[in-house]
Structures are given as structure tokens and as C-alpha cells.
Amino acid sequence: MSAKNKITITAEPGKQDLFVTREFDAPRELVFKAHTDPKLYAQWLGPRGYEMVLETFEPVDGGKYRYIHKDPQGNEYGFHGTFHAMSLESMVQTFEFEGYPGHVSLDSMTLEELPNNRTKITVHSVFQSVSDRDGMIQNGMEKGMSEGYERLDEIFAQTNS
């Protein structure tokens, strides 16, 4: 595979939004499919070491979603929201962590076709306030999630070698 695609996070101090961008070595149709096919979605979204339960998944305008991350200790972390415009070019949805009810972000993802069958994803998350944005990311659960992801990466690396 070519050099690893780098991720860029843009979170300006004092603002209530942030951007995440990254390119992928796959055509846009497939990137879209990985976001709208429940089996594929569950494969990459959940943190490692956690059980990912995709309870509801209706990736169409007006559809709902709810998923739960279960850690080995039996703790459950629920997330839910609503889908809005869903097309190859852009996917819009609300996002709410159930441990922090009433604090909802609006996530707009654009999928941009690049030459050589590549795709650029840009996620724009708008929070209700600056402290919502900062608080969401600072909270310990996210830290636990990223530790989980690292372990899954290792598993992937082993199965690929």
C-alpha cells in the first residue's frame, strides 16, 4: 500500500466546530458503501475491545440510528441521532452521546472524488457551544475508545501479515 494517508484535525480555539479530513485509496462509491452498509459500518466504527451493537440503522433522509459500545466490564455507551441528506457527495446527521444527553452535534461529511480512484472525506462537526466541543473530546470515554482502537489495529496488522 502507498504511504499512509494522514489525518488532519482543525479545531480553532474558542470555536464550536471542528473539521476532520483524510484521503482514502478507494473510489467514492465504496467509501459511501462502508458508511451505509450496516455490516461494514459496524466493522470499523466501534472501538477495539468493545462490542459494537448497531441497534438501529436507517441511513436515509429522516432515518434514525442507535449503536452501543459495550466494554469487557459490561459498561454500555449508547449513541444515537438522525440522518438527514444522504448522497454520494454528502451525508448529514445529528450525533448525541447518551451519557451526555441534550448535547447534540451536527455532523456533515463530504465525499470528494479524487483522481486515481481516491476519495477525500471531510467531516465538519458543529457543537452547541465551545464547551460542548471541548468537553466532548476531553471526556474520558473518548480516551478509552482510542485505547480500544489501538488494540484492534494490532489485530488487523496481524491478520494482514
Binding site: 478507494a26 462502508a34 465551545v130 482510542s146 482502537y149
Partner: protein, 119 residues
């Protein structure tokens, strides 16, 4: 988890939310200055500079050290690490998530190629 919502924010994020405070920090990064020394570099009023220094002090980013008759402002940059940690944590979460998406896409493309060959 919710308490910080109701308190007046006095953390690093509050400190760097204001462009004047960011400018004060970069000014003080290279030199320690008195309050007047800082104010001389800004168009905003001296009381306004003083207010910003006060907030920076409360956020733990600036300390004021008396020396003789003067009081010098110094930056404490270790607190700024909280900001990089915060973004770093989030970056890692997305990086790992997208690394896994890479794998899913790779598998999909392999399958598609196999299907083409079968046909």
C-alpha cells in the same frame, strides 16, 4: 462531567479563546515583561491588557513575579500541553477509526476484483 458547564471557565481553552490573549502569550514567549511593557505592544487600553493578564493568571498560563519595584509577567507553557493533548486524543480516535475503514475498503476492493475475474 457536567459541572464545568456551570462554572466560569478558567482553563487553558478559555485562556486561548481570545485573540488578544493569544497575542500576549506569543509576546511573552520570548521575554518576560512588566504589565506596562506588555501594554506598550497593544492598541487596547491598559486596563483591558490588565484584565487579559488576570484571566491568563487564573488559567495558570502566566505568573506575575515581583522583582524590586517591578512586577514581571512570565509564561508557563506547560499548561498549554493540555490543548495539544486534547487535539491529539481526538486525532488518534479518528486516525484509528479511519485506519480500520482503510482495511474495510481494501477488503471490498479485493472482493470486487475477484468478482470481475469470475465473470
Amino acid at each position: 462531567m457536567v459541572t464545568y458547564m456551570t462554572n466560569i471557565r478558567r482553563d487553558v481553552f478559555q485562556a486561548i479563546a481570545d485573540p488578544n490573549r493569544r497575542a500576549i502569550l506569543s509576546l511573552l514567549a520570548n521575554q518576560r515583561l512588566t504589565l506596562n511593557g506588555v501594554a506598550d505592544n497593544f492598541r487596547i487600553s491598559r486596563p483591558a491588557v490588565s484584565r487579559h493578564i488576570k484571566i491568563l493568571k487564573e488559567c495558570g498560563l502566566v505568573v506575575v513575579i515581583p522583582q524590586g519595584r517591578e512586577r514581571y509577567c512570565e509564561v508557563r507553557f506547560d499548561r498549554l500541553a493540555e490543548v495539544t493533548d486534547w487535539v491529539e486524543q481526538y486525532r488518534q480516535m479518528w486516525e484509528q477509526r479511519f485506519d480500520r475503514l482503510d482495511q474495510v475498503l481494501l477488503e471490498l476492493q479485493k472482493k470486487e476484483q475477484q468478482n470481475v475475474r469470475k465473470k
